[in-house]
């Protein structure tokens, strides 16, 4: 386990139960300082509950949580920015006034916050909206405003719950660029998402949770190499129904224009290519890394079977 100073956030044996069901169980997690960390899992996996406990909005039933090496307190809270899954801004408050208010809650003096605000408004395309009430803004704009509220006090750690949901493709790209910049500045980003692909490319390390329990964690490279290069993408002309029956093939997923063949550990991709080229006209063959999505599905189904 890494030394205390390495962890931006550390969870130890955390458990949280609501009346009737356990949301998070025996969760231990080290989120390193610097870089982007993805907290992944399907809806209802316990991501939001975990982040709320980190922000001290919920109290864990068991276990301890440390942020930047200390239990959550006013001092650590000021160094963290939190964007909740359900956005929360005052609907009838003027945007600029509102953002200065949230910075003030983090201890940033008004004058200082007013100085920092214009570049952010500019970058998010909200400059001309700064004197409007929040409920006059579109959903996407409100989300960008929420992000400014999260980041205006220049926190060391940003905790973003589903940060890309509800944004259009242009908005998603904009936010990605911002995340990359923040990561370059040495900030720690914690992103939660149920869409693994979107976060996969952004994150240095990830944790997958399902039904409140940790399924796997590590750097993206580690996780992938642990699961081997065991998938083949194949496009062909002809009837490929026999592929599933080849030795070493676990599963064939048909995507229409191509199929993904998942192989057992140690199976030889070349043998599959050979068998296929004998009976089909192969137009594409590629050995690929499994996506996080595939890894997740595999682990979850394996767990359910066990």
């Amino acid at each position: 386990m890494p030394a205390v100073t390495d962890a931006a956030i550390r969870l130890l044996g955390v458990r949280k139960a609501y009346s009737g069901h356990v949301a998070v169980e025996a969760l231990s997690l080290d989120i390193p300082r610097g870089g982007a960390f993805g907290l992944l899992g399907p809806n209802g996996a316990g991501k939001t509950t975990t982040l709320r406990m980190v922000m001290n909005i919920l109290r864990p039933d068991q276990g301890t949580i440390e942020i930047l090496g200390a239990p959550s307190g006013q001092e650590t809270r000021d160094r963290v920015g939190y964007m909740p899954e359900e956005r929360g801004l005052y609907p009838r408050m003027v945007l600029e006034e509102q953002l200065l208010f949230f910075a003030a809650l983090k201890g940033v003096p008004r004058a200082e916050a007013a100085r920092r605000l214009p570049p952010w408004l500019e970058r998010m395309g909200l400059t001309s909206w700064r004197h409007n009430k929040l409920n006059e803004l579109s959903k996407g704009m409100q989300q960008k405003a929420q992000f400014i509220a999260t980041v205006l006090h220049d926190p060391e750690v940003l905790i973003l719950d589903e940060p890309l949901s509800g944004l259009d493709p242009v908005g998603v790209n904009l936010m990605r660029d911002v995340f990359v910049d923040l990561r370059r500045q040495g900030k720690t980003l914690v992103l939660s998402s149920h869409q693994m692909e979107t976060v996969e490319r952004l994150c240095d390390s990830i944790a997958l949770i399902n039904r409140g329990r940790l399924v796997l964690e590590g750097t993206v490279a580690e996780v992938k190499s642990r699961h081997g290069k065991n998938t083949v993408v194949l496009a062909y002309e002809g009837d490929g129904a026999f592929l599933g029956a080849l030795p070493g093939v676990l599963e064939v997923s048909d995507f229409g224009r191509y199929v993904e063949v998942r192989m057992a550990d140690g199976a030889d991709a070349q043998a599959i290519l050979k068998a296929a080229s004998e009976r089909l006209r192969v137009t594409r063959f590629e050995v690929v890394e499994p996506s996080l999505h595939d890894i997740f599905v595999e682990r979850v189904t394996a767990e359910a079977a066990a």
Partner: protein, 415 residues
């Protein structure tokens, strides 16, 4: 502490900039004056319309005196009678005809003076409307005057002496206070009622403003962002203080207006405006603040426990109840502000903001009673804000079904 200020600032500015604030500050007093005075004015208006009255005199001798007496009152502007000459005929048929006239609306009522009225002092009034108490008592007085005159003539008193003998007493009421004497023709009553209505409506209004603010933060999920930055208690206190500041601003404005009117009217000779003393103004502002914090804390707790304003209605009722109760006791306390009942009621913290203040308006109570009421209120505020803050801390992050009362009690215990 430095995290409380942004919340206080936000709450204060948001309230003070709102239309509701501007309207209630500028028009509130006018509205209250309207509510208090308009019914009186309407009654005055009603009085302008003549009340058509017939007299059925079975004695055969009282009628001219009674009619004369009614006419005199009308001339003096006291009554609004118009005597309709009764037609001749036997008593039974005239009575029947008059009844028919009343039903048909040709006249408003008639008085029957039985043959033995001089002995029994019993007469009857018939009318479609018998709830116009003021008019009827005026008729009563007019007939009585005629009857007394009739009796006095019977014992030999000269007719022209009668008026002098039976002249009514004109009781002038003068309110004595430590700062001097001042004639009062009901002004104190109106003022007391006005100020109490203002206290009642502002405490209720600002309490509801807090409650709705809390609900808004909850439904818009702002609260989650705030609680990730500052402890819930900062939000609770910031809100209570910020909204209270807006209320205080409003009250200081009103007190200033009242003081100006007071100074202006004191300079006028024969002013009939009731005295506006510094004690009155100070206690007006002070009892608003005390009432505001007492009720505001409870409203905040209610707001935190519910998800929508509809849900808030039923839970807010027990909070509003004592405030309404205080208005109900208005009459009793006004009538005898020094009675034991009044003293006890005005010391109960939930009623004190209205009732102790009312007592101060009509009659300065002993200083120890004012001090005791303030002390009791401060103690209640300390206890209630502490409890409310605990409920609030749990409530603002609870979503889902509306909690039951026992659940809320548990929050306060475990908070």
């Amino acid at each position: 502490m430095n995290r409380l200020l942004p919340v206080v600032r936000r709450e204060y500015l948001e309230r003070v900039r709102s239309k509701l604030f501007v309207i209630s500050t500028l028009l509130g007093p006018l509205l209250v004056i309207g509510i208090t005075l308009v019914p009186g004015l309407l009654m005055q208006q009603q009085r302008g319309k003549p009340l058509r009255l017939a007299i059925l005199d079975e004695t055969g001798s009282l009628r001219p005196a009674a009619e004369e007496s009614l006419r005199r009152r009308k001339a003096a502007g006291e009554g609004r009678f118009e005597v309709v000459p009764a037609t001749a005929g036997d008593a039974a048929s005239v009575r029947q005809r008059l009844s028919a006239d009343v039903i048909a609306g040709r006249i408003d009522g008639f008085v029957v003076l039985p043959a033995d009225v001089a002995q029994t002092s019993r007469a009857e009034y018939y009318g479609k409307n018998v709830s116009n108490v003021m008019d009827i008592s005026m008729v009563d007085q007019a007939i009585e005057e005629a009857l007394v005159g009739h009796r006095l003539t019977a014992v030999g008193l000269a007719r022209d002496k009668i008026a002098a003998v039976t002249r009514k007493l004109d009781l002038k009421t003068v309110r004595l206070t430590s700062s001097g004497a001042r004639e009062d023709r009901g002004g104190t009553f109106v003022l007391a009622m006005l100020l109490m209505m203002m206290l009642y409506s502002t405490v209720a209004m600002w309490g509801a403003a807090i409650m709705n603010g809390v609900i808004e933060e909850k439904t818009s999920r702002v609260v989650e962002v705030i609680v990730s930055s500052v402890p819930p208690s900062s939000l609770f206190w910031g809100k209570l203080l910020g909204v209270g500041g807006a209320g205080l601003t409003q009250f200081l404005f009103w007190a200033l207006c009242m003081a100006m009117i007071g100074v202006y009217s004191a300079g006028m000779a024969g002013s009939q405006l009731p005295e506006v003393s510094p004690l009155l103004l100070a206690s007006f502002v002070m009892y608003f603040l005390l009432g505001y914090f007492l009720y505001g804390a409870m409203y905040a707790a209610v707001g935190s426990a519910v998800n929508t304003q509809q849900e808030a209605q039923s839970l807010a009722f027990p909070v509003t109840m004592p405030l309404i109760l205080a208005v109900v006791f208005f009459g009793a306390v006004m009538g005898s502000p020094d009675s034991r009942l009044s003293v006890v009621l005005s010391l109960i913290p939930f009623l004190a903001p209205l009732l102790m203040f009312l007592r101060i308006t009509v009659l300065t109570p002993p200083a120890w009673q004012i001090a005791l009421s303030v002390a009791l209120m401060l103690a209640s505020i300390a206890l209630l804000t502490w409890l409310a803050a605990r409920v609030y801390r749990v409530g603002i992050l609870m979503y889902g079904k509306r909690p039951t009362f026992p659940e809320i009690v548990r929050w306060a215990r475990e908070g």
